[in-house]
C-alpha cells in the first residue's frame, strides 16, 4: 500500500503537523485480549449493586420496567445497530419505516399530531420544547412548575443561558396565574411526586395569555390517563426510557417530543415521512429537512444531528410487543402496588403520604425525624434504608424545603420488596419513638 501511495512511511504524509507535536507518548495502558477485557469489565461490574439485587423503589424519569426478550434480540441486530443515519433511503428502509412506526405509536399514545424521531433524553427535550415555544411566540419568559423533575428543571436552566431566557418557577397550583407575557407554561403530569394535575385548566390559561402549554409526561401513564392531545397541550415531552430501554446508569435514553401540526416547522430534529419510489412503491425518507442544521446552519431550529434512533426503534418494538393491553397492564400494576404501599406506609406512626391529591404510580412519604431536633428526615431515612440494602429516593434539597421520600412502583415491584420496605420503615419509626421516649 505504501508503494501505491509512493511513500516509504506514513510519516511522509504528515508534513503539515508541527514536528515537536508529532507522535507523542500518551501514557495509556497497553492493550488487552478480548478474554482479558471481558474479565476486567466483569470485575468492574461486580462493584455495583444492580437494581435486582435487593428492594428497589427508585424511579422518576427512569424506571425499572419489564423488557420483553424480543426487544434486545431485534434492536441489537447488526442491520439496525451498525447502520448509519438513513440519509440514503434506498438502502435504509428498515430504519426509516421503523422510525415512522415509532412516530405513529407515540402520536397514538399521546394523541398528538406529530412526533419527531427522537431527542437525546427527557431533560434536554424539555429545554428544546421551551426553545420551540420561544421561537413561535417571540417571547423570552418560560414559566415552569416546581413539581417538574429537578434534573429536568436544572437542564432547562442551563439551556436557557444560551439565548438568555428568563425562567420562572412556581408551584403547579400557581402556573395558570403566571401566564402573562410567557412563551409557555411547563407542567408535569403525573408530577415528580406522582400527583395528578388538571392540565386542561393550565393549557386554557396559557392559550388565553397567548402562550403555549408544554406537558412533561411519562409513556406508561398515558395508557390509563387522558392524553395530552385531549387536554389542549401544544408540545409534549418526556423520557422514553421506560419503553423497553435499559436503565444503564443514565443513558442512552430516548427524548420524546411531539406537537401539534401547526408547530411542525419549529420542531427540532429529524422526522420521517411517507413517500414513494420511482416505480410507485411505498417508501420512507427523512423529510422537512429545511429545519435542520445540515441545510440551514445557524438558522436551524436546533443543532441536533446524532439522536437516539436505536432507542426509538427499541421503543417501537416494545410497544408492538406489549400491545395496548400489555402497556395498560404494566401501568396498572404500578398504580396498584403504589396505592397498596401508600396505604401501609401511611398507617405507620409518624408517616404520612405527602403527595397532594390523587397520585399515579409513585408517591411522596413524610417520615419521622431520625434524631430529635436534627435537620430534615427523608434523606436520613433514605440513608438508613440504604444500610438495609433498600434503595429509595429522597427529595432532599431538590424540591424546596421538602425532605420526604419518593417511592416508585412498577410491574417489577414484588410483594417481598414491599414487605421489606414496610418492615424497615416501621423499625426506623419505632426506634425514633424509643429515642424520644428515652429523652
Amino acid at each position: 500500500m505504501l508503494e501505491r501511495v509512493g511513500i516509504r512511511s506514513v510519516d511522509e504524509l504528515l508534513t503539515a503537523i508541527p514536528r515537536d507535536t508529532l507522535r507523542p507518548k500518551l501514557g495509556l495502558p497497553v492493550g488487552m485480549s478480548e478474554l482479558e477485557i471481558q474479565s476486567h469489565l466483569e470485575a468492574l461490574a461486580a462493584k455495583n449493586r444492580t437494581a435486582g439485587a435487593g428492594p428497589f423503589f427508585l424511579g422518576g424519569p427512569v424506571q425499572r420496567r419489564y423488557i420483553p426478550a424480543a426487544v434486545a434480540v431485534l434492536a441489537l441486530r447488526g442491520e439496525f445497530l451498525t447502520a448509519y443515519t438513513p440519509y440514503q433511503p434506498e438502502v435504509s428502509q428498515g430504519t426509516l419505516q421503523s422510525i415512522f412506526e415509532y412516530q405513529s405509536l407515540v402520536c397514538e399514545l399521546l394523541a398528538m399530531d406529530v412526533a419527531n424521531s427522537s431527542m437525546y433524553e427527557g431533560g434536554s427535550a424539555v429545554a428544546e420544547a421551551a426553545f420551540m415555544a420561544v421561537r413561535s411566540t417571540g417571547r423570552k419568559k418560560v414559566v415552569m412548575a416546581s413539581e417538574v423533575y429537578f434534573e429536568f428543571r436544572r437542564t432547562v436552566h442551563t439551556y436557557a443561558k444560551g439565548p438568555d431566557l428568563e425562567i420562572v418557577e412556581v408551584p403547579t397550583r400557581d402556573l395558570a396565574s403566571a401566564a402573562e407575557r410567557a412563551a409557555c407554561l411547563i407542567v408535569q403530569h403525573p408530577d415528580a411526586f406522582g400527583g395528578l394535575v388538571d392540565v386542561r385548566q393550565i393549557a386554557d390559561a396559557a392559550h388565553a395569555a397567548g402562550a403555549l402549554c408544554i406537558q412533561v409526561t411519562e409513556p406508561h401513564a398515558n395508557a390509563l390517563l387522558e392524553p395530552p392531545g385531549a387536554l389542549g397541550v401544544d408540545i409534549v415531552v418526556g423520557e422514553g426510557q421506560p419503553l423497553g430501554i435499559p436503565m444503564s446508569f443514565g443513558g442512552p435514553y430516548l427524548g420524546i417530543l411531539a406537537c401539534r401540526s401547526a408547530l411542525v416547522r419549529q420542531m427540532p430534529g429529524r422526522v420521517v415521512g411517507e413517500t414513494h419510489d420511482a416505480h410507485g412503491m411505498r417508501g420512507f425518507v427523512n423529510t422537512l429537512q429545511t429545519r435542520e442544521q445540515h441545510i440551514r446552519r445557524e438558522k436551524a431550529t436546533s443543532n441536533i444531528c446524532t439522536n437516539e434512533a436505536i432507542a426509538a426503534i427499541s421503543a417501537a418494538i416494545y410497544v408492538a410487543l406489549m400491545g395496548p393491553e400489555g402497556l395498560k397492564a404494566a401501568a396498572r400494576l404500578g398504580v396498584v402496588k403504589a396505592h397498596a404501599l401508600a396505604h401501609r406506609l401511611g398507617a405507620l406512626p409518624g408517616c404520612t403520604v405527602s403527595t397532594e391529591g390523587d397520585f399515579f404510580d409513585r408517591f411522596a412519604l413524610r417520615v419521622p425525624r431520625l434524631a430529635a431536633g436534627g435537620e430534615g428526615s427523608g434523606y436520613a431515612v433514605r440513608n438508613a434504608l440504604l444500610a438495609d440494602n433498600i434503595l429509595v429516593e429522597a427529595t432532599a434539597v431538590h424540591y424546596g424545603d421538602r425532605d420526604d421520600l419518593i417511592i416508585q412502583c412498577t410491574e417489577m415491584t414484588s410483594d417481598a420488596e414491599m414487605d421489606a420496605l414496610v418492615a424497615a420503615i416501621e423499625s426506623i419509626a419505632a426506634s425514633v419513638r424509643e429515642t424520644v421516649t428515652a429523652r
Partner: protein, 498 residues
C-alpha cells in the same frame, strides 16, 4: 448486502400502496394482546374518572412472532457496517467490535440516581475514561455528559460564554467564527448560545484563509470553531498561527473532534493550540451509530475552562471512594438529566482498553494510509479538490462527470448497485459535486481495491452510458424516492384503521 425484491412478504396483508413490508397497523388484528405483562385490573378504580383516558388507544395488536418477523424483515432492508463498507467522510464508520456490546450489558440494570456507594464500579469506569480521553487529546479535564458531538459543541460554547462573562467581557463578545468548511452543527450550536456567526473562507490549499481570519477577528469575538483535520481531510498547515491569532484578541479555539480518528497517537489537539475538543465516540472509538444514534460527545478542556464544566463532577480522593461533586459555582450546570450515555461510554472505554496506547496509534496510522491508498487509485478518474496528502479522509469532485450529466449524487447511487454505501456528497460546501471518502482502518486491502474499482467503473460508465448511472440504484430494495413529494405532502404517521 441482502437484496430483497419481492413486493410483500408472505403475510397475506394488503397495503394501500405496493410496499416492501406492511406497517404494524396494517398487520393488526383485534384480540391479539401480548402476554408479556398481565394483571392490575384494580387500578381502574384507583384513578379518578376525571383523569382517566377517554381518548381511544389505537395501538396495534400482534402476536410476538408477527412482531419478530416484521422487524426482522425491516432489518434486512438496511445497509449497515455489519453488511458492508461505508466510505462516509467525516462519519468514521469503522467496524464496531461485538465484545463492546456484550460488556455494556453488564451495566444495564443500574439506575442513574443510585447512591454512590452502590455504583463504585461504574463511577470508576467513568473516571478512568475521563483520564484516558484527557491523555489522548492533551487536555486537562473532561465531561462525559454530552450525548453527541453537537451537544458537546453547545456545552462548550455555553462554557465560552460563561468564561468571558467571568472576565467581565460577556457583553462585548458576541461573534463566533467558523470556516466555510465547517459542519452545519457548528454555526447552529453558536446560534443556540445567542451568538452571531461569521464565516471565513478557505484558501487555495484547503486551509482556513489566515488573512480573512485576521480581518474577521476583533475584541467582539467569542472564539473560533475549527475542525482539524478539516472536512477536506487536510491538516491545517498554519494551525499555530490560526490559534495564536484567535488568542491574541482574547478569543478561544474550539476543536470539533469529528476527525479525531486521524490523530490518535499522531498529534494531540492540546499541544496544537486548541482550548478544548469534543470526541465523537461513535466515530473514533468504535461505538455503533445505531441508525442515527445514540452517540456520546465527551468534551475535553484545558485548565482555564475546567471551572465551567457541567456538573455534577465525578471526583475521588486518593484511595477514597468515587463521589459526585456539585459545589462548583462557575459550572454552567447540567446539560442533560443524568451523567451521560453510559452504555455508549462503556463501549468506548472497552475499545480504548482493548487497543491500548499502541493499538490506537496503529488505528490512526492505518486510517491515514488507507485514505491515501484510495486517493491514489481515484485521482485519474475524479478531480482532486486540493492536491496534497490527506489525513484519514479526502474529497474528490464529480465536476468532470457533471459535464456529462452525471452528478455526485448519481455516482453515490451507482455505488449502491456495486454493493457499497454512497460516500458523503455535496459536503463540504466549498467543493462542487463533492464526494467525501473515508475508508477507516478496519477495511482490508481487498475491500479498498474493490471500492476503488467500483468508483473507476462508474466514472467510465459516466462517459459511455450516463443514463445507466442516472437510473441507479437498480439492485436496492427501492429505486430513488420522491423526497419533494414527502416534503410537500407531509405524512408523518400512519392512518389509524377505522
Amino acid at each position: 448486502m441482502t437484496i430483497r425484491t419481492q413486493v410483500i412478504p408472505d403475510s397475506g396483508v394488503t397495503t394501500a400502496m405496493p410496499a416492501l413490508e406492511p406497517l404494524l397497523v396494517e398487520i393488526h388484528q383485534g384480540g391479539r394482546a401480548g402476554r408479556h405483562v398481565r394483571g392490575g385490573d384494580e387500578a381502574d378504580a384507583q384513578i379518578p374518572a376525571a383523569f382517566a383516558r377517554k381518548a381511544p388507544l389505537g395501538l396495534p395488536e400482534l402476536t410476538e412472532p408477527q412482531v419478530v418477523r416484521h422487524f426482522t424483515h425491516l432489518a434486512q432492508l438496511n445497509y449497515a457496517v455489519d453488511t458492508g463498507m461505508y466510505p462516509l467522510g467525516s462519519c468514521t464508520m469503522k467496524y464496531n467490535p461485538k465484545i463492546n456490546d456484550r460488556v455494556a450489558g453488564l451495566f444495564g440494570d443500574l439506575h442513574p440516581t443510585q447512591p454512590e456507594s452502590t455504583v463504585q464500579g461504574a463511577l470508576a469506569l467513568l473516571a478512568e475514561l475521563e483520564s484516558m480521553l484527557a491523555k489522548v487529546t492533551g487536555m486537562d479535564a473532561v465531561t462525559l455528559q454530552p450525548a453527541a458531538g453537537a451537544h458537546a459543541e453547545f456545552t462548550a460554547i455555553l462554557m465560552f460564554k460563561a468564561y468571558h462573562r467571568k472576565r467581565g467581557e460577556g457583553a462585548k463578545r458576541h461573534r463566533v467564527i467558523v470556516p466555510d468548511t465547517a459542519h452545519g452543527t457548528n454555526p447552529a450550536s453558536a446560534a443556540m448560545c445567542g451568538f452571531e456567526v461569521t464565516t471565513v473562507k478557505s484558501d487555495a490549499r484547503g486551509n482556513i484563509d489566515l488573512a480573512s481570519l485576521k480581518t474577521a477577528l476583533g475584541d467582539d469575538v467569542v472564539g473560533l470553531m475549527l475542525t482539524n483535520p478539516n472536512t477536506l481531510g487536510l491538516f491545517e498547515e498554519r494551525l499555530r498561527e490560526v490559534c495564536d491569532a484567535v488568542h491574541d484578541v482574547g478569543g478561544l479555539v474550539y476543536g470539533d473532534g469529528a476527525n479525531m480518528n486521524a490523530l490518535l497517537g499522531i498529534a494531540r489537539p492540546g499541544d496544537l493550540g486548541f482550548d478544548c475538543i469534543h470526541i465523537n465516540v461513535h466515530k473514533t472509538f468504535s461505538t455503533p451509530h445505531g441508525a442515527g444514534g445514540p452517540g456520546a460527545g465527551p468534551l475535553c478542556v484545558k485548565e482555564p475552562l475546567r471551572a465551567f464544566l457541567p456538573k455534577p463532577w465525578i471526583v475521588h480522593d486518593e484511595q477514597g471512594p468515587y463521589r459526585y461533586e456539585t459545589k462548583q459555582a462557575d459550572s454552567i450546570g447540567r446539560v442533560r438529566t443524568f451523567a451521560g450515555n453510559f452504555g455508549v461510554l462503556v463501549r468506548a472505554y472497552t475499545y480504548m482498553r482493548t487497543l491500548g496506547e499502541e493499538g490506537l496509534a496503529e488505528a490512526s496510522n492505518d486510517a491515514i494510509l488507507a485514505a491515501n491508498y484510495l486517493l491514489a487509485q481515484l485521482r485519474d478518474s475524479y478531480d482532486v479538490a486540493f492536491d496534497r496528502p490527506c489525513m484519514h479522509e479526502f474529497v474528490v469532485s464529480a465536476a468532470r462527470q457533471k459535464k456529462l450529466g452525471v452528478s455526485a449524487l448519481d455516482v453515490g447511487k451507482a455505488l449502491i448497485d456495486e454493493g457499497f454505501h454512497p460516500p458523503t456528497v455535496y459536503f463540504p460546501l466549498v467543493v462542487p459535486e463533492a464526494l467525501m471518502i473515508e475508508p477507516t482502518e478496519t477495511e482490508p486491502r481487498e475491500t479498498l481495491d474493490a471500492f476503488a474499482a467500483a468508483m473507476v467503473r462508474i466514472a467510465e460508465k459516466a462517459s459511455t452510458d450516463p443514463a445507466s448511472v442516472k437510473a441507479a440504484p437498480k439492485n436496492a430494495p427501492l429505486a430513488r424516492l420522491d423526497e419533494v413529494h414527502a416534503a410537500r405532502n407531509p405524512k408523518l404517521k400512519w392512518q389509524r384503521p377505522t
